[in-house]
Structures are given as C-alpha cells and as structure tokens.
C-alpha cells in the first residue's frame, strides 16, 4: 500500500485515537452494552409477539405476581444503581474508602435482588408454573416469564461477580477509577433492562 493511500484510509476510516471522545475500554464497553441490549430487545419483541398471537386471554399479572413484591425488587435495583453511581464518582475523585463502601452496598443490593428473584421463582414453581404450562392460562405466559427474568437474573449474577472482583481489587488499591466505571456501566445496564421488563411484563 502506498503511503498516500494509507493516509487517505486513515483520514476516512481511522477514527483517530478516540472517535467517541472516550477511551477504547469505554467505547468497547458501550458497544458490548448495545449488543447485549439488542439481546433483550429481541427477547422483549418475542414476548410481545407471543402475547399478541395467543388465542386465549393473557393472565392479569396482579393475579399471578405480588406487585408490591416486584416493586420492592425494583426499589432494591434502583437503590443499588444510586450507590454504584456514587462509587464510580468516588473512585474518580480518588476517595477509595467511599468507593469501596458504596461498592459493598451495591453488592448487598444485588444479592437481595437475586434472593427476591429466587423466592419468586420458587413460589411460582410450587404453584405449578413450568416452561410447558401453568395454571393461569397460556404456556407462553410462563415461557416469557422464565426466559426474560432468567436472562436478566443471569446478568445480575454476572454483574455481582464483576462487582465482587472490583470491590476486592479496590480494597487492595489495584482497581483504577476506570475499572470501577466499567463495572458501573454494566450494573446500570442491568438496572436499565429491569425498567423495561418491569413495565412491559409486570405492569402492562
């Protein structure tokens, strides 16, 4: 390749050192979040379609789920996002103690959320909810429930693993502020997905 050709390619497609004004780690994290967001977007679209085509009435959510309990789960997740945001800013400002304290609060919130989800799943399975059928009507109802909340729960679990590793490394002074920020982006994404599941599956 001639030097002039390379210069043209670089000028048109190189993007510079930071095309989005962000570090490559943050840019890659955002690209990952977009692709993961598309996974949930596909699942929610599939859920919408299933609900649209079932010939029998879709069960009323408040007759199946305890909505106040789901509201409590939402409260826990939103609160953990607030503590995560505080941890990110504290890490950026060099306040390691505050960052670690808020990371621990976030981990506790995540554990509480997963505990609530495990309780909800157990309760529904005891009442007869299966992937192949349920006592409330169309099997698609529990299929959508288990797939959506299961995928989301697995993300919460992996987020917790990332947070625990980040907290341990922060306590040892080994995590740079950007490491906390990356963990935070992922955790907020998990919260963001719940906003959609909460509204589209539990309330509508």
């Amino acid at each position: 390749m001639h030097a002039s050709e390379a210069a043209v390619l670089e000028a048109h497609w190189g993007g510079g050192a930071a095309p989005f004004g962000a570090t490559w780690q943050k840019t890659m994290m955002w690209i990952f979040i977009v692709t993961d967001g598309l996974l949930f977007s596909g699942l929610l679209c599939g859920y919408g379609f299933l609900r649209h085509i079932v010939p029998v009435p879709w069960p009323h959510q408040s007759e199946v789920f305890s909505i106040p309990f789901i509201a409590l789960m939402t409260f826990i997740l939103i609160t953990s996002s607030m503590t995560m945001g505080t941890a990110v800013t504290a890490a950026r400002l060099g306040d390691g103690k505050r960052a670690l304290r808020n990371l621990i609060f976030t981990i506790i919130g995540g554990l509480c959320f997963l505990g609530c989800q495990a309780y909800e799943w157990t309760h529904l399975i005891e009442e007869g909810a299966r992937l192949t059928g349920n006592p409330w009507g169309p099997p698609q109802f529990t299929q959508a429930f288990f797939v959506l909340t299961g995928f989301h729960g697995s993300h919460v679990f992996s987020g917790l693993v990332i947070l625990i590793i980040t907290a341990i490394r922060t306590s040892m002074g080994k995590t740079p502020a950007q490491g906390v920020e990356m963990a935070g982006l992922y955790w907020h994404f998990v919260d963001l997905v719940w906003v959609f599941i909460f509204t589209l599956f539990y309330l509508l």
């Binding site: 967001g37 598309l38 906003v195 509204t199």
Partner: protein
C-alpha cells in the same frame, strides 16, 4: 461530572428520588385501573423517562460526546422497531403457512 463545583454525588440522589417517584406513579396507574389506552401511553412514556434518566445520569451519557449517545440510543431503538415489525409481520405469516 461535578457541575458548577457542587456536590458531585447529589445527581445520583436526585435521580434516585425521581426514579422512585415515577415508579410509584406507574404502580398507582396500574392499581387504579386507568383505561387501557391511557395506561399504555402513560406507562410507556414513564418507562422511557426512567430509561433516559438511568442512561443520562447514572451511565453519564449526558456528559459523553453526542455521537456516543446517538450510537447507543438509535442503535437499540431502531433495531428494536425493525425487529418487532419483522417478528410480528413475517413470523406470523410463516407460522400461518406452517399450520396450513
């Protein structure tokens, strides 16, 4: 992040309170059995407000370069719309053909 030299953590508390208030409003709308059309519009609008607040304030998208925010928001929104249109139209058609 630290706007006008104020408390850098305040934005998270304010966002947290607003998110909680919106969530309570959504639960109230569902509990009071608003007419279905109004309920859908109300819940979807507030869902998008909550998503914007989490993306903008918690994930700091409002502080990033607009190109990054546009890449994220338009990528997910446009693909979701296309995906839903494809699923609800084309898949229905395929299922009908398979069942005949």
């Amino acid at each position: 992040m630290n706007e006008a030299g104020g408390n850098p953590y305040r934005i998270y508390r304010v966002t947290w309170i607003i998110l909680l208030v919106i969530t309570v409003a959504m639960l109230a709308a569902e509990a009071f059995h608003l007419p279905r059309f109004f309920l859908i519009v109300f819940l979807l609008a507030f869902m998008m407000v909550k998503a914007s607040m989490i993306g903008g304030n918690f994930m700091h998208l409002r502080y990033e370069r607009p190109s990054l925010a546009i890449m994220v928001a338009s990528g997910i929104l446009v693909t979701s719309l296309i995906l839903y249109a494809f699923i609800s139209g084309e898949t229905h058609h395929i299922l009908e053909r398979l069942s005949n």
